[in-house]
Symmetry: C2
Subunit: 749 residues, 2 copies
């Protein structure tokens, strides 16, 4: 089949040999000229497609279609264009490859095997969908495995990660590259299917890549026009190329993505030399090509069946009696991958060597960054207790002070917001924005790629998911910090979860975290969101009550190298408690805030609602003669890690004094730690921030009244009367407050 030409929609036709290739050595471009003969290529394509089909048949499950359809793309990437070293998957300056259509993972696993990644033995490859716990071929690619840059699967995440990886390259290159010493100049390649163009997250990421002119990013569209429900046009009519151009991408097309390796190579090389735009390559493929059921949804996620596989083998000229067979010629086809990779590494070592000699200070810092160390002493950025004001201040402001100091002093930190800069208090006066140096911002300021302040726009989900890519580039080299209103971390939740799953350290600053937000109303007032983040594995949700606890929260978040964190902060003033609050206590998740011998009750205060616990304790003492001890409980996850003895000391499980948790959220999850709760049982309301807590019965008097009743009951009947029946002390308000004058009850429980 004669190769069809690449139709460049936007840029002039390039010769194969590239001059001044931005991201490759001339040597590599010369390699590219030596495209293998068509016969050989077709043979390898056939063997590959048969292998995929057999692998999905082995345990009678899998996703064969896209992997088969993308075979030629894979050859173009792994044999001809990408810079990588199979013998060293951790080589810093390797090209990054992301499979955003993660269900097609067999595509990537197979090529990793064929080009010689040592962990991806044939035995491992054939463990796809087996019951091996330690298989390198799980149902979707996982970051822990060599050759896999990020975990994908949920659609849109991969392309977002790729944007982050490309940002990281640009940024680190801008920070450390010097003339003649390009220590970071790799390319990022990401494949997508139709799904990533439909998912909102995909579009958010595409807009950002275009805005930042990430010319080191190439998005490869496996355009097979098939989704689970049928052809893609069952739910989509976009002019995709026009849309991508409108978002600032160069667009190239390949007509015959099934067989025309050379045209794909040309397009990829053109992407690599793109001057100032990311590239989108629209490659037309046939899902499950060479199967009887090709071009249908049936080949997407199910085994093809013995009969079809026979057919596939015949039509590819293979022996129908051989199963899971890779002829030696196929391994020969890819034989140069290992030595070429080692050659690239050798060249790189020379660059590093020159760099170390001529720019020794910078090189020292660069090496530290690549080892994942934070540059400088971050602990000095955390204010000491005696520096805090005694007046109330919003905890978002306390956190902002720390965040700004950290951002100013620790080069690893890239901090940004989803268009709430004035509200989240994290803008340093000396900040430099991450922007393309050629971007003119009407309001100013302009920026450049060395900038470490990120304007994410109103894209909370991309903020989280792209940040995972920033963190994944090289573990610890970049510490991303995101920020928005806590309520809008419900938009970001899929991306936040992916960070937890991949053990990527990202710190999320979540302000305006309760009804205390006030006037904005119930759409902005979280009630149930903390329950999600407290239940999420490998995630640290911390809700500090004052500036001292904020210091503890930041400390815990920075120390959690394998775990993302969220610091939950108040919009409104919170009192400061210099005699009680303790950053060391935060590290333990909960601690005794105010001890009291022979206490009648323990109040557990959380975050912005601590002031009600403290206020109620005063009322209980002065008006009712009752003794109260107070526990502060900023983080359930950290508390769970403590020894049992410590937990018992703090919570006094066996005492005859009941424990009441006080937080203006749904109480789900607190029942483990308390006997009763003073909580929210509905959505919030739009009211001024000075009025809203009281409207929902959060006043010291009312709380003290309810606690007193509970204490009296326990004194009469013993703790036994509470056993097994968690008490909600604040349910009456629902009927009171939602009966509007019009006589309509808005039952928002």
């Amino acid at each position: 089949m004669a190769p069809s030409a690449v139709r460049e929609a936007d840029i002039a036709r390039l010769p194969l040999k590239t001059d001044g290739a931005k991201n490759g050595s001339t040597k590599h471009a010369e390699d590219v000229q030596m495209i293998e003969s068509q016969d050989k290529t077709q043979f390898v394509l056939g063997c590959y497609r048969v292998l995929i089909a057999d692998l999905c048949q082995q345990f009678n499950m899998g996703h064969p279609g896209s992997a088969m359809g993308m075979a030629a793309i894979g050859i173009a990437l792994w044999k001809y264009v990408m810079k990588y070293s199979p013998s060293n998957p951790d080589w810093i300056n390797r090209d990054r490859f992301v499979l955003s259509n993660g269900h097609a993972c067999l595509f990537q696993y197979s090529f990793l095997h064929l080009v010689g990644y040592q962990n991806m033995t044939f035995e491992q490859l054939t463990s796809y969908h087996s019951d091996r716990w330690d298989s390198y071929c799980p149902g979707h690619p996982e970051i822990e495995h060599p050759g896999i840059e990020v975990t994908t699967g949920p659609l849109g995440q991969g392309i977002a990660n790729a944007v982050g990886l490309a940002m990281a390259s640009k940024h680190l290159g801008a920070q450390y590259n010097q003339p003649g010493c390009e220590v970071i100049n790799n390319m990022t390649w990401v494949t997508i299917g139709d799904a990533c163009l439909q998912e909102g997250l995909g579009m958010e990421s595409i807009q950002l890549a275009g805005h930042w002119k990430l010319n080191n990013l190439c998005v490869i569209f496996d355009n097979n026009n098939i989704t689970c429900d049928g052809s893609a046009d069952i739910a989509m009519s976009d002019d995709t190329n026009a849309k991508m151009r409108a978002c600032g991408f160069d667009v190239l097309e390949v007509e015959d993505g099934n067989y025309d390796v050379e045209s794909i190579v040309r397009a990829l090389v053109a992407a690599r030399v793109s001057k100032d735009k990311p590239t989108f390559i629209n490659i037309k493929t046939t899902i499950g090509v060479s199967s009887k059921k090709q071009n249908t949804a049936g080949v997407h996620g199910a085994p093809l069946g013995k009969e079809d596989i026979e057919y596939i083998k015949k039509s590819n000229g293979m022996d129908v009696d051989k199963h899971l067979h890779v002829p030696q010629e196929v391994y020969d086809f890819f034989r140069e991958a290992v030595p070429r990779g080692q050659e690239l590494e050798k060249d790189y070592k020379q660059v590093l060597s020159k760099y170390t000699k001529e720019y020794s200070d910078l090189a020292k810092e660069f090496n530290q960054r690549m080892k994942g160390e934070l540059i400088g002493d971050w602990t000095k950025c955390i204010p000491l207790k005696d520096s805090f004001p005694s007046n109330p201040e919003p905890s978002r402001k306390s956190a902002g002070n720390v965040g700004v100091a950290l951002a100013e002093n620790i080069p690893n930190i890239m901090l940004g917001t989803a268009d709430l800069a004035p509200s989240v208090n994290l803008s340093s006066k000396t900040k430099v924005d991450f922007q393309s140096p050629s971007t003119q911002v009407s309001s100013g300021p302009n920026g450049n790629y060395s900038g470490r302040y990120i304007h994410w726009g109103i894209r909370e989900h991309a903020m989280a998911s792209v940040s995972n890519g920033l963190a994944a580039f090289q573990k610890g080299a970049i510490l991303p910090v995101t920020s928005s209103f806590f309520m809008f971390y419900i938009y970001a939740a899929p991306g936040v979860r992916m960070g937890a799953l991949q053990s990527l350290q990202v710190i999320h600053i979540a302000t305006h975290d309760s009804i205390g937000t006030g006037e904005d109303g119930p759409t902005h007032q979280p009630i149930e969101l903390a329950a999600l983040y407290r239940a999420m594995p490998n995630f640290l949700y911390i809700r500090p009550c004052d500036a001292e606890e904020v210091a503890g929260a930041w400390t815990a978040a920075i120390n959690a190298k394998e775990t993302p964190s969220m610091i939950s902060l108040a919009r409104q003033d919170v009192p400061q408690y210099p005699s009680h609050s303790s950053r060391a206590g935060v590290a333990k998740g909960a601690y005794v805030f105010v001890e009291e011998e022979g206490a009648d009750v323990t109040l557990i205060g959380v975050g912005a609602e601590m002031r009600f616990a403290v206020g109620a304790a005063k009322v209980l003492k002065e008006r009712h003669g009752l003794k109260t001890r107070i526990v502060s409980f900023p983080s359930q996850r950290l508390f769970e890690a403590q020894p049992l003895q410590y937990k018992r000391e703090v919570l006094q499980y066996r005492s005859s004094a009941p424990r009441v948790v006080i937080e203006a959220y749904a109480v789900n999850g607190w029942e483990r730690y308390a006997d009763a709760g003073y909580s929210m049982h509905s959505f919030g309301h739009s009211l001024p921030r000075n009025d809203i807590y009281a409207r929902f019965n959060f006043t010291e008097e009312k709380l003290a009244g309810k606690v007193k009743e509970l204490v009296e009951e326990v004194k009469r009947e013993g703790m036994e009367s509470l056993r097994g029946e968690f008490r909600d002390l604040n349910t009456e308000y629902v009927r009171d407050v939602f009966h509007s004058p019009q006589g309509v009850v808005h039952d928002k429980r």
Copy 2:
């Protein structure tokens, strides 16, 4: 200021008088010709802008800028173009208006007042940001208030709702309109700012509107190029018009959106007669126009200050000493709104009258729909117990059987999926897809607007948010049913929440709901998501264990007229329990599954993990001689609504037998109902579905072993030994299973 022309980017210039206006009577088009004099209009614009500024100054907070900037748009909509009746905000065929940039709500509130909505008195208008609980002017528009179609605030939600409202119009029109009797033919207008073009949800919705050719939708872009962080181009470089065209919209522009009412009117009228595309009107405005700080982020969300307001009053020719003053001329300017609306209603009554006469059966059904009644007897679609198979079957299949029967028989139901039709089992053979009648789907089938099966594409968030719009059109007329994998309802969560907040009945069918999903791995296996949905106010999360409980779940969901639901279902086979399971029990949230006198322990089985409770009970009896009673607990929210006595009977709080909950999720929230839990404490893993539960220690033997230990401890030391310390019985596996051969511990707790 001379009005500038509308520059139509795509369509020919239209005369003001429209012939064959798709969505308006000729009479209304003639109204449009009578554009008021410029002097009058400028005067009203000035008064309006001053009013907005004063309203935000009154309590020293608010969002003045966009409302001021959009004044001319408001006049064009409410005085000239929209069809509505202030005396009857519930008139069925009214145009729907949505303010997707919800923070600019003063814009809408003010016009509702000026055109004469009875509830929006001047006193009410001036309650914006006051401490009135029952204010009609909360910080963001709320659906419960007359004149407000949907609650907005979180960005992207409004435009998604608008797509749903437009779909509803198309669909109901296709179902019920007859020649000469158009009972539903209204237009939907939605304003957006930059944010809704950045939010992924906005793009998902735009793609759907373009794909479905919703020519009855007009998106009005308040293009002020300002966001919180500065000019919009700080984070966005899209060619917005080109992008909208690529997504299938007609694009119009208005150069002077601040003052040129006539050009805006022309554009809106052009949108109304659009033949087969939704319209996007790109209107250039200046945020906070006439303020000293106009065109800066400073006017977005803060009061303007006394000095600036004086300046604004002066530059608009107003008396600086008058505050919150609306001259009578302004009311006169809008005086025709009420009578015109009543005239429109009168015309409509005639249409209805003719319809009732000539199409009486259809009219009867139409009236029922508009009253919110389900047509037909849905209870007949819920299979009786004796019709269920005795063999195991996946609960997603059981639910699918019910779902298909409902969809086939109940016209109110519009059911769809986010591209997982083969997996969610909800496709009826007789289904008709919701599509534009002119859309050719490559794979087929084609559809039309009367279709009730919706292909959402890979857009879970839009699926939920647009469905809120479908439900909001007319309460109960449409009952949307969505479907996807449970894990991907983390993408949909913001939209699901908005449904709960607005009391909109939408049913979400969430399949593949646990580690039982198997091979797809941890990205697809929910652990913490149920905690979110169980804690969400006004939301019903139900996890049925077999087909009988599935019947109960559907029943509860359909009966919940003011509450959205999620039915959580297994991918894999679950056993059937004809002697134990009970749909009546589901209605109570939890019930006794297997009673046992003198039981040593109560096991709480949930959903797909019920089989471990049942299996362990058998082992406990046969091997350890222990008696077990079993409780099934499909819904916490329904259980909480039961009387205390019932709850005590089911859970036996005071018994000496401990209660153990068994669910393969994080246990957060179950501590209210149990003393111990057998749960997940990490993310999942990619393993075949037949192996995965066992790998995480979910086997009857291991579970029985742990329960036996607990029972023995309690027998020795009494229930007191468990008091206050919830027991996690399944934590050891974390160390066991995450120690990979390479010696690396993946600590995914």
